[in-house]
């Protein structure tokens, strides 16, 4: 997803840019309203994080100039003013959400994700990748046309991985986004459910994973988390750089069983 940050504070702009890049987005940061308007005339991002107090042209002026021309772009407004009228005005002008400073970086990221998720839901009710089709409205999944019977959590997990295909999702992130649990809980539920998902997806496509012949669709990124392959072949050199462990289900099960055993102990 393309994200445009318009924030005049260089330290904050830098953190927001770095933080959202980690999420796998293409992020551009501009420090004044006029540059933002120029950029918006050239190309609309998927999400704009807009500070209200800006040099040259403030955030409200930008929103006023964009009324009726958002073209599917989501807007998250940041403001240090606690007057409710300002936030109401921004929302009325077409902003999707407002955050009052000081805010938590985690909350901002979560709100960005929610806005992009909502946007994506409207954009495409079916997520497709490597023969997998996830029908969001009908809540059903197929792989190469074969139905895959998933539980509610397995479905939510696959949906999240499909939305972030090609990007490593950390265990903490999956725990927070899919289970709404704190990463501090120390549970291995993510590993367990990834294993369930792999088995079910592999069962629908005998050439994959468990059969040993095909590549693993959900890769383990050693020390980081999991990633749904984006469909293109990955070279061994690239694998080495990413630190991706292309473990088969048996290998993963071994790791997960070890974790389960530690939990049990």
């Amino acid at each position: 997803m393309r994200v445009l940050i318009v924030e005049d504070d260089s330290a904050l702009g830098l953190f927001l840019q770095k933080g959202l890049k980690i999420e796998g987005h293409e992020v551009e940061w501009l420090a004044d309203g006029e540059s933002a308007m120029e950029r918006l005339t050239l190309r609309r991002p998927d999400l704009m994080v807009l500070d209200l107090s800006l040099p040259k042209k403030d955030g409200t002026e930008i929103l006023e100039a964009l009324v009726g021309r958002f073209e599917g772009m989501s807007v998250l407004v940041l403001t240090g003013r606690n007057e409710v009228e300002i936030r109401v005005k921004c929302l009325n002008l077409g902003a999707d959400d407002c955050m009052l400073k000081p805010f938590s970086f985690h909350e901002l990221r979560a709100r960005c994700r929610a806005l992009l998720r909502r946007r994506e839901q409207f954009a495409d009710p079916v997520l497709r990748q490597s023969g997998i089709e996830l029908h969001r409205m009908e809540r059903r999944v197929t792989r190469d046309g074969v139905p895959v019977d998933l539980t509610v959590k397995e479905f939510a997990l696959l949906e999240f991985l499909l939305q972030r295909r090609g990007v490593c999702c950390s265990r903490a992130e999956l725990l927070r986004e899919v289970w709404q649990m704190s990463p501090d809980t120390g549970t291995n539920v993510v590993d367990v459910y990834i294993n369930y998902l792999r088995r079910k997806l592999a069962a629908a496509c005998p050439a994959d994973g468990a059969g040993g012949a095909g590549p693993e669709l959900i890769e383990t990124v050693r020390g980081s988390g999991y990633m749904l392959r984006d469909g293109r072949p990955v070279s061994p050199a690239e694998l080495g750089r990413k630190g991706v462990q292309r473990a088969g289900i048996a290998g993963i099960s071994g790791i997960e069983q070890g974790q389960s055993a530690r939990k049990g102990a």
Binding site: L12, G80, R81, P102, H106, L108
Partner: protein, 87 residues
């Protein structure tokens, strides 16, 4: 409400607004820094946090000065109006 009280409230509101910026930087730097593996990036986060702390300190000092001046002014008013505790 006296004009000076109104000015003081407006000034405090402005100061609070000014404080929200370094506070956000500080919060973001701490949360972002907590997830970093790179020493270089960690140092950068600490440096930016220190700058934000300094900006916060200056804001707090300005607020203290404004409040102190307002208190002094109100004491003067009380003495003028004969509402003081003297005697």
């Amino acid at each position: 409400m006296r004009t000076s009280d109104g000015n003081l409230l407006r000034e405090l509101n402005e100061q609070l607004h000014a404080m929200s910026q370094p506070m956000t930087v500080l919060l973001c730097a701490m949360e972002y820094g907590a997830g970093l593996d790179s020493v270089h990036e960690m140092r950068e986060a600490v440096r930016i946090s220190q700058e934000a702390c300094e900006r916060l300190r200056k804001n707090v000092v300005s607020m203290q000065v404004a409040v102190r001046e307002a208190i002094e002014e109100s004491k003067g008013d009380e003495r003028f109006l004969g509402h003081g505790h003297a005697g």
